[in-house]
């Protein structure tokens, strides 16, 4: 499930559409209050994944509209998170890598109690089913993360922009 490393081949989509980034979430008075609990909501999950870098562009997934806030669903009480992502083009070879990056980021950033579900927005990718199956398979995800080269690529996507 490894895509070509960055810079190896000419870009598949050299001039993609760019979407505006949403600003930082403003801190509300409620959040400053020590007493009141804040539930984990869609926006919070979205904030976690929106700054992930695209493997081939110096842009974030949010700017490329790969992830959108409306496609993030959270149920704090039942501890489930569901994220749909949309590859920029239907035959994008990076889809698996993007999905894996999202999954890893959420695994690292959410409490254990959450059950994660990361999949492609229906009807937006040629081999949607295959990719979804790979992402849902816990063993394959774990095995992929054993691969040090792949882990490095994922970490690069997750690293903060310099």
């Amino acid at each position: 499930m490894v895509g070509p490393g960055p810079g190896a081949a000419p870009l598949e989509n050299a001039n993609p559409l760019i979407y505006r980034r949403s600003g930082e979430r403003p801190v509300t008075a409620r959040e400053e209050d020590d007493e009141l609990p804040d539930a984990i909501d869609d926006r919070e999950i979205f904030d976690l994944i929106r700054s992930i870098n695209d493997p081939e562009h110096p842009l974030t997934l949010e700017e490329l509209n790969v992830v959108e806030q409306v496609r993030v669903k959270v149920n704090d009480a039942e501890s489930t998170v569901s994220v749909e992502f949309t590859p920029t083009i239907p035959h994008c070879s990076m889809a698996t890598l993007i999905g894996l990056s999202i999954k890893v980021k959420l695994l690292r950033s959410l409490p254990d109690r959450f059950k994660l579900d990361v999949h492609i927005t229906p009807g937006t990718h040629a081999s949607e089913h295959a990719v979804n199956k790979q992402l849902a398979d816990k063993e394959r995800v774990a095995a992929a993360l054993e691969n040090s080269h792949l882990l490095e690529v994922v970490n690069q996507c997750l690293s903060a922009r310099s």
Binding site: P37, E44, R108
Partner: protein
């Protein structure tokens, strides 16, 4: 005789001795002797290789002789070029050769030039293959001189280029512990100076640069771009002509595809330099217009991207065009002629506000470039011919519902306004109307603030329009009656707020200040007289006045006007309110509430600090008698029912005493050389008030005022007397009695005043303060007092109000007192230990970070102990001390990694949110320690950080995510 010994070693030693002697005494030699020695040394050059180093030393000594006869320099160099294979010598000896050449070049320039190209060739052979960075720096300098001083290069241009350019791009990492301190940057700069020193290198250099630009290596790209930019400063179009297409295509590719902002910036700078270079040579030659074709190719490649405001390439294209357009007036016209109409057309074609915003932002970029050329020229400017459509586009953006678009529109408006002669008077009126509408009626606060900013920055250019049109409108709104209750009442209040802010924002020109200040004062009076005088309203008026005061500080006339108008008026209103209260004992007037008085302090202070000494003296002669003698004659409407005696005794004078705050604002802000009449009397009164008053506000203010005056008081007997008096008053009250807190406040402020000016008494007072830390009752307050001592106070005793503040007083306080604090901590009982830690952490918190990092290792164990202290203020400030230390001194911190990890992880479950956040930040900062130190803890930390991921507070979770992700 040594020099003729058959053993080369002995001969070498002999020559070495001679050379050493010569190095010491070369300046004493006679011409004849020099001649003799030179001939001797030249012959020695053919000697055994062991002897050569000493021979070169000797020649170096001789090369520094002033009496060297003509022709000898040339013959020495010839001999060296012929006999010595320089690159097989040691580094030091090669360096000697370079020194000889440098010496000759600086003293015998004419003779060397007589050698013609042979000299250049000889030098090329000498430096060919040089590897040592120290020698390279010298060699590069020699090449630069060769070129700059116009030595004959002859047929050796290419060789000279080859011998230097082989080092490009410089790839050198200084060895650790390098004693010579040569950085990569030094070599890069010195090589660049060589390469960019002459147009003769162009035909070789440009292909090299293009090649390196096309490579994969980031540093090579950067270096090439910077070198290209440097070259453009001296090249003409002749040199560039052949390479323009490939240069452009490389630059375009980099800007379109790069991920690094740095490369993009350098590309744009290079393009800017190229265009500037071309436009320069156009002026001097009438051959084919290269600039035009170059710009055409840029336009051709970029223009169509501007039509797709959603696509990725739109911004790189716009930036390229702007970089080229910024190069000269000529390029600007050429590019805007084509781009501006296109952008205007695109704006009307696209209707989505996000697309329009992108287009308008690009347009704004081009307009800002026009600013660079100053005025709009009548005949040539494309901008002027597009005046109407540009205005209509900007105005349409201002009326768009999207806030983002409005903001860009407002920025564009500011730029248009700053272009002299661009806006017609009818347009200008329209602009002002738009600004008024946005300021008052736009719901989004961002837009209305931006509109106020814009009004403020345009007002000095068009004062008439603003004072004639905007100020009356605002005044009208401000005075309009109150409309109903409930929601509309809320609206009315926010509208009034906006009016006040806008009045302040627009007061950026003296003539406007004269209009707005009376309006603001009138409004303040109206609010005060109103039946339900509201504190908040008065505070906002004062804030507006403060802003105006800051804006007219730089302008002497405006400043004096403001001072003369506002200060008496505020004093009069306050005095009147205080009188009413003391006579009728009415419920407390809003004007005298602490908040309002606190808001007036910055107004008076800002109006006073920038006065000239003469005017300040004039003013002080009114204000001080007002407080001491009740002399009210200078106040407007000065018919008061009773006398004003703030320092008098009596229960009913409480309200009058509070006005000491206003006195403080005034006298503590005066320039230091203004004499205060009856200062001794004033000081005694203040001292008495601060010790005896029951109201904490009044007592604190009086203490501050006293401290402010003491700080500026010239040293001498008088000062010592007054200080002695203060100490005598403080001591008994500190020891016992009902007014211990007041006495502590006074002690703190006086100590601060003296610490700031390094007064000798300060150490005695600080010791007193340290002693109080052990007091169970006053200890915590005294500990907090350390933060007061170290922090910048907002109203008195800072640089802005001319206080005597020595540099580094914090460092000095630190070195003097921290050992005592530590000692006190160890000797203290368990119930007061926390006070010492708190005091310590306050001191550390205010210390500049670089000092902190060098000093902290000694205190580290104490700080670690402080982490286990249960006081959360101490925890918090300790964490904030440790945070920079983790980032900047990882080596020292790694010794304590075990304790740190444990403590931080414990604190992540603290009941206080702020502590949890700080602890997580520190845990995050731990990752900057060396990996080998951290590895054993990785699993434990990651497991422990899983818990705060589920924290109930979002802000805590955010930090936890960041920290855990990093681990």
């Amino acid at each position: 005789f040594c020099l003729e010994n058959t053993d080369p070693r002995t001969r070498g030693r002999g020559i070495q001795l001679l050379s050493q002697v010569l190095l010491q005494c070369y300046s004493l030699l006679q011409e004849k002797e020099v001649l003799h020695l030179v001939l001797f040394y030249e012959s020695r050059l053919q000697d055994h290789h062991l002897v050569i180093p000493s021979v070169l030393q000797g020649l170096r000594a001789l090369s520094m002789c002033e009496v060297l006869s003509p022709g000898l320099a040339v013959s020495v160099l010839k001999a060296i070029f012929q006999e010595v294979h320089v690159q097989s010598l040691m580094q030091l000896d090669r360096h000697t050769v370079y020194s000889i050449i440098t010496n000759f070049m600086s003293t015998r320039e004419e003779e060397l030039k007589g050698l013609g190209a042979d000299f250049t060739f000889g030098f090329i052979q000498v430096m060919d293959g040089e590897k040592d960075p120290r020698n390279l720096l010298v060699a590069f300098q020699i090449v630069r001189d060769l070129i700059a001083k116009d030595y004959a290069l002859g047929p050796f241009v290419e060789e000279l280029f080859e011998v230097t350019s082989c080092y490009f791009p410089v790839d050198f990492t200084p060895p650790p512990n390098d004693p010579h301190g040569i950085q990569r940057e030094d070599l890069i700069l010195s090589l660049r100076a060589v390469l960019a020193s002459t147009p003769q290198f162009a035909e070789f250099l440009l292909p090299l640069l293009i090649e390196k630009l096309d490579s994969e290596l980031q540093s090579a790209k950067l270096d090439s771009l910077q070198t290209l930019t440097a070259c453009c400063a001296i090249y003409g179009q002749k040199e560039l002509q052949e390479f323009l297409p490939s240069l452009w295509s490389s630059l375009r590719r980099e800007v379109f595809q790069t991920a690094s902002e740095k490369i993009e910036t350098e590309c744009l700078a290079a393009l800017h330099a190229l265009s500037a270079c071309l436009s320069r040579s156009v002026l001097s030659s009438d051959s084919e217009d290269l600039l035009d074709s170059f710009l055409s190719s840029i336009l051709q490649d970029c223009r169509h991207h501007l039509c797709e405001p959603d696509m990725k390439l739109v911004w790189p294209s716009a930036k390229l065009l702007q970089a080229a357009a910024g190069a000269s007036l000529r390029t600007y016209h050429r590019i805007t002629r084509s781009v501006l109409p296109l952008l205007l057309e695109q704006y009307t074609k696209h209707t989505q506000s996000s697309q329009r915003r992108t287009i308008l932002e690009m347009l704004l970029g081009f307009l800002e470039l026009q600013q660079k050329w100053g005025h709009v020229e009548e005949d040539e400017s494309t901008l002027l011919s597009l005046q109407a459509p540009v205005c209509s586009v900007v105005f349409s953006a201002l009326t768009d519902p999207s806030v983002q678009l409005q903001l860009v529109g407002i920025k564009a408006l500011t730029v248009l306004g700053s272009l002299q002669g661009f806006l017609s008077s009818s347009d200008l009126e329209l602009v002002v109307d738009h600004l008024i509408r946005l300021t008052l009626h736009e719901e989004d606060s961002q837009s209305s603030e931006a509109a106020m900013e814009a009004a403020g920055s345009l007002a000095p250019t068009y004062p008439k329009v603003f004072s004639g049109r905007m100020v009356p409108r605002l005044e009208e709104e401000l005075q309009s009656g109150r409309a109903g209750k409930g929601e509309s009442y809320q609206n009315h209040r926010s509208l009034q707020q906006r009016c006040l802010q806008a009045l302040a924002a627009v007061s950026t020109h003296t003539s406007i200040v004269r209009e707005t200040v009376p309006v603001l004062l009138q409004h303040l009076q109206k609010v005060q007289k109103g039946t339900e005088a509201r504190t908040q309203d008065m505070v906002s008026v004062c804030q507006s006045l403060h802003r105006v005061a800051l804006q007219c500080q730089q302008d002497a006339e405006g400043c004096w006007y403001f001072h003369q108008t506002v200060v008496p008026c505020l004093l009069a209103m306050a005095v009147q309110a205080a009188m009413q209260e003391s006579t009728h004992t009415l419920p407390s007037k809003a004007l005298l509430e602490e908040e309002v008085l606190a808001a007036m302090i910055p107004v008076i202070s800002a109006a006073t600090t920038h006065l000239s000494p003469e005017l300040a003296a004039q003013s002080v002669s009114h204000v001080v008698p007002l407080f001491l003698d009740g002399e009210v004659s200078f106040l407007p409407q000065n018919s008061f029912p009773c006398s004003f005696q703030p320092f008098g005794d009596g229960e009913c004078l409480e309200a009058q005493r509070r006005l000491v705050a206003l006195l403080m604002a005034f006298v503590c802000s005066l320039p230091r050389d203004v004499a205060i009449p009856q200062q001794e009397w004033l000081l005694r009164e203040l001292l008495a008030l601060s010790c005896s008053c029951n109201c904490p506000f009044t007592a604190t203010t009086a203490a501050k005022c006293f401290a402010g005056l003491v700080n500026k008081h010239p040293a001498g007997q008088q000062l010592d007397e007054i200080l002695q008096l203060a100490v005598n008053r403080m001591e008994p009250s500190l020891a016992e009695g009902p007014r211990r807190t007041q006495a502590l406040t006074l002690l703190l402020w006086v100590t601060k005043a003296l610490v700031l000016r390094y007064h000798p008494l300060s150490s005695c007072l600080t010791d007193k303060l340290l002693g109080l830390l052990g007091d169970t009752e006053l200890g915590p307050a005294a500990a907090d007092g350390f933060s007061l001592l170290m922090a910048e106070s907002p109203d008195v005793l800072h640089k802005g109000c001319h206080a005597d503040v020595r540099i580094m007083f914090r460092q000095r306080f630190f070195t003097d007192n921290v050992p005592k604090l530590v000692q006190g901590f160890h000797g203290a009982g368990p119930d007061v230990k926390a006070n010492y830690l708190k005091g310590l952490s306050h001191v550390l918190n205010h210390l500049p970070k670089p000092v902190l990092v060098t000093e902290l290792p000694t205190l580290l164990s104490l700080l670690l102990e402080a982490l286990s202290c249960s006081d959360r203020v101490v925890q918090l400030s300790t964490l904030s001390c440790l945070h920079p230390l983790l980032l900047e001194a990882p080596q020292i911190m790694s010794l304590h990694v075990d304790t740190l990890v444990t403590k931080f992880l414990n604190l992540t479950s603290s009941p206080t949110m702020a502590v949890r956040i700080a602890a997580l930040r520190c845990a995050h900062a731990l990752t900057s320690l060396p990996t080998t130190v951290l590895l054993p803890y990785k699993g434990r930390v990651i497991r422990a950080l899983a818990k705060p991921l589920d924290d109930k507070k979002r802000l805590v979770r955010k930090e936890a995510v960041a920290a855990r992700g990093e681990w």
